[in-house]
């Protein structure tokens, strides 16, 4: 369990220190209004370094994304995140603990969520911000083309 960094063992707290991680800062934060949840089309954007087996693995400082079509079988999902400092056994046991596509599908089925995107995406979260920005801009266009109006950002 991760509570506050100050409660973690020193080696882990040091590894996650904001000074070391170099978190970006922004002058303001945009927040867009939208439709009720039952009318939204939702995509999952993971930063777990996920992709289909056989797709190009992520490399260090890689700011690009991989495409995960909604019908991708769970058995086709692999992870090539560069970091070794997070648990992977949860993902090995159940992909939904990292990439909750079955949970989202259930919420669509019961009417809580309007619909699910036809395609989901994954980045590899250790990216330098400048390397990811052009890809994210491109991704926004793809999401709009798929009529997505909500993105669930899921880290690892």
């Amino acid at each position: 369990m991760v509570r506050r960094l100050s409660e973690l063992p020193e080696v882990e707290a040091r590894h996650l220190s904001p000074d070391r991680v170099k978190c970006p800062t922004y002058d303001d934060t945009p927040l867009l209004p939208g439709k009720p949840l039952g009318q939204r089309r939702v995509a999952i954007i993971s930063t777990a370094g996920l992709h289909k087996r056989g797709d190009r693995p992520f490399d260090r400082d890689d700011g690009s994304y991989r495409v995960i079509p909604a019908e991708t079988p769970a058995g086709e999902l692999v992870m090539s995140h560069v970091s070794v400092n997070f648990d992977r056994t949860g993902f090995q046991q159940d992909h939904n603990v990292v990439f909750p596509i079955d949970r989202l599908r259930e919420l669509v089925a019961d009417g809580t969520v309007g619909s699910m995107a036809s395609v989901h995406y994954s980045f590899m979260g250790a990216f330098p911000v400048d390397a990811a920005q052009p890809h994210a801009k491109h991704l926004a266009g793809l999401l709009k083309a798929d009529k997505v109006d909500a993105a669930l950002l899921v880290p690892v």
Binding site: V2, L31, L32, P57, V82, V97, L152, L153, V154
Partner: protein, 230 residues
Amino acid sequence: MGALGHFLEREGIPTAGISLVREHTEIVRPPRALWVTFELGRPLGKPDDAPFQARVLRAQLDMLARTDGPLLVDYPEEVEGEVDLSGWACPISLAPQPSDTLDAEVARLATWYDRAVAARGRTTVGASGLDMPAAAALVTGALEGALPPAQTLKLAVDDLRAFYLEAASAFPDPGTSKTRIAWFWDETLLAKALLRLQPKLAASDDKQHKLLASLTLIPATERHRLGGST
């Protein structure tokens, strides 16, 4: 992760994220973040617990209705720590024989890996594109001869690690994920090989080898083992 929220929202896509490290999110200030206290690597909390995952996901989705941000909401549920099984002993003896090799260890685990794949109906091994004997041979070759490219080695090592831990999950008494990770680092030839490989990578003239040695081969929590292994 928080940066993606800024990028996408600015481009017209509303976002709601999960935060695993509150201190990072407080700095980045993304549009909407649900802070959870779960272990890194488990943003939805509990594997094989669909109701738990659904509650987290619903809390994340519910933030989309709000525009009074940046929002940083504390998720109320926690995952209880695993039972302490420090006395747990691996039921499958992998104790190395005097003439044992990494290849032999991989071969001994294959049957357990196959059982794990059959039970789960999937595997996460496969990012490297190598079969496990070839991945093991790559590690052995890196120890004994020239180092392969860092990315090739990294993907092979990550696949081997996944292979070992998936195999261990099918042992007759599999313990917990924590005890299996401890087993990996305490008892396997592969872990010993990685600990021996680290100083060789650190001494390489190749910058990518050095980065692999310093950051992405040995987890921060296991680096204390390096002192005695070099």
